[in-house]
Amino acid sequence: MLMLKFGLCCLGMMFLLKEWLLLISVLTILTFFCLTFMMNFDLGVINLIQLDFLTYLLVSLSLWVTALMIVMSFYIKHSKNYFEVFTSLSLAMLFFLVVSFSTSNLLMFYIMFESTLIPIFLMVMGWGYQPERVSASFYLLFYTLTASLPLLMGILYINSQQFSTDFSSLVVPNSDYLLFWMLIIAFLVKLPVYLGHLWLPKAHVEAPVAGSMILAGVLLKLGGYGLIRFLPFVENSLSEFSVLLVSIGCIGGVLASIICMRQTDCKSLVAYSSIAHMALVVVGISLNSFISVAGAVIIMIAHGFCSSGLFSLVGMIYDRVSTRSIILIRGIVSVGPSMTLWWFLFSISNMAAPPTPSLMGEIYIFMSSLNWAGVLAVFVGTLSFFAGAYNLYLFVSTQHGTNLSGCKSFTEVSVREHFVLISHMLPFLLFLVLLTNIYS
């Protein structure tokens, strides 16, 4: 019934498409009620709703990032570029995300998982910047569709065996290796893990600011969420393939971090850093210990805020100097010092500096990975080192140095933009205490 109420609420919000002020107000009020009154986890399996702490965190994150992405998209409204269609796509995406995070039915989860592709495809195709957005949106669509077809087949097979498509029917561990890969591959590509990651940099570079924010902030977490939900069912097979998954995660994360160091596009750099962070999530989930899965969840939530904020910052720079090239964007500290402050805060958060939750998540995963195998110290240490390296590279390249002539006319950060960035950073820090309840 909660899902039905939320669906009706989303339909009601469709009438507010032209009144963006009311729309964002409703979204922020919904986030407030979600944060404060959705803490009752005793609903169990009733009417397709299953809530636990992970659902609570991800639904709150979805609502908040959707509100912020609409606030960041005012240039679409002022340039009269079909803003109502854009907001309707955002609301549809929000509905699909909330239902996918809160449903307990496997088939409903799959349908919503696939449905989130439609709005993001249309956003990239419709509001992207370069002609390459056509190929980028096709990469996004076909990578995810191809990988998730085995998931549908796996769910239908589970239905034929267990006579139910509910998460509670996944309680008996299955040791079928083929079924394991059929269920897991969709989420690995969605995360994305290194070998199935090619769609992400393309999609992020070609997407509009809001598209990048929702993609990095929430859509990648669908992959991690799916892995965690299906984990108890495939534990027996996971013990067989955990070495492979941890290896792909560790080596892929290191390779993605090294690739970050030679990027010339800011958005592409942040996209590859997302791949490195999600590699840690894969490692955490594959290790299948309590603390490693907790660390994976914490990194997912922290990355949702941090990456979304970084994409907002890149979008703000693009609005002013019409380029995302690291070579051309230089010396921002001398023309926009308030933006430099935000670049600094988000860069250090991305490299997991204290007191951010990113550090907490990384420490949990480092602890569990070293407990699992000592050799992983080399890989996670290298990953952490390069995280610092590419974030410093991004910050120093864009902020320091002599600014080019194209950067001399630089509007100071407006109140709206400060609001968006504060709304990323403050909940990010406040969530630190909330995430310590991950063990409940």
């Binding site: 002020l21 964002i24 107000s25 922020t28 009020i29 986030t31 407030f32 944060l35 404060t36 803490m39 009752n40 986890f41 702490f53 908040w64 509100a67 606030v71 005012f74 002022h78 407006s414 109140v415 709206r416 933009e417 609001f419 504060i422 709304s423 403050l426 909940p427 406040l430 205490v433 909330l434 309840n437 409940s440």
Partner: protein, 162 residues
């Protein structure tokens, strides 16, 4: 806090006239009347409030000049009222409601996840077990006396895998 500081500053300013000696507080500045000065016409400072005579070109221009001092908050490039209203709405809903009140309700609200209850219960159990001389953590999750195993006749040919 800021309100208290401002009000105290105003009160001190009010009482300064009574606290200080009169000859220190008063400084008279006067000049003799100048005979060879030209008359100085002082212009009335234009008010941003709407004047009664809307057909007066000078007052309209003055009001427009005063209104031009507005700088956009970033929510609307031209409409001042929508821009200011948006800034106020987002500041209230986003910061005050969601972050401040949301944090308050979360931290001071009831213990919905039963985390504090679990910690209290654990301490009570530890005290009880120490008083009874039992180990704090029993290696058996369930007491052996409470486990009822099926008999050999009931099991039959059922294969038991350990």
């Amino acid at each position: 806090m800021a309100f208290i500081v401002r009000q105290s500053g105003r009160l001190v300013g009010t009482f300064n006239n009574y606290l200080q000696p009169a000859h220190i507080g008063k400084r008279c500045i006067s000049t003799s009347k100048k005979n060879d000065e030209t008359a100085v016409v002082t212009e009335k400072i234009p008010s941003h409030k709407a004047t009664q005579n809307s057909h007066d070109v000078n007052t309209t221009a003055a009001a427009t000049a005063a209104k031009k001092k507005w700088m956009s908050y970033g929510f609307h490039p031209t409409d001042q009222y929508e821009d200011v209203a948006s800034a106020h709405v987002f500041s209230f809903l986003g910061v005050t409601l969601c972050m401040v009140l949301g944090s308050l309700v979360y931290y001071y609200g009831p213990d919905r996840t039963l985390k504090d209850w679990a910690q209290r219960e654990a301490y009570l159990l530890v005290r009880e077990r120490e008083a009874n001389g039992l180990p704090l953590l029993d290696p058996n999750y369930v007491e052996e006396s409470k486990i009822v195993l099926p008999s050999e006749e009931e099991l039959g040919d059922f294969e038991i895998i350990i």
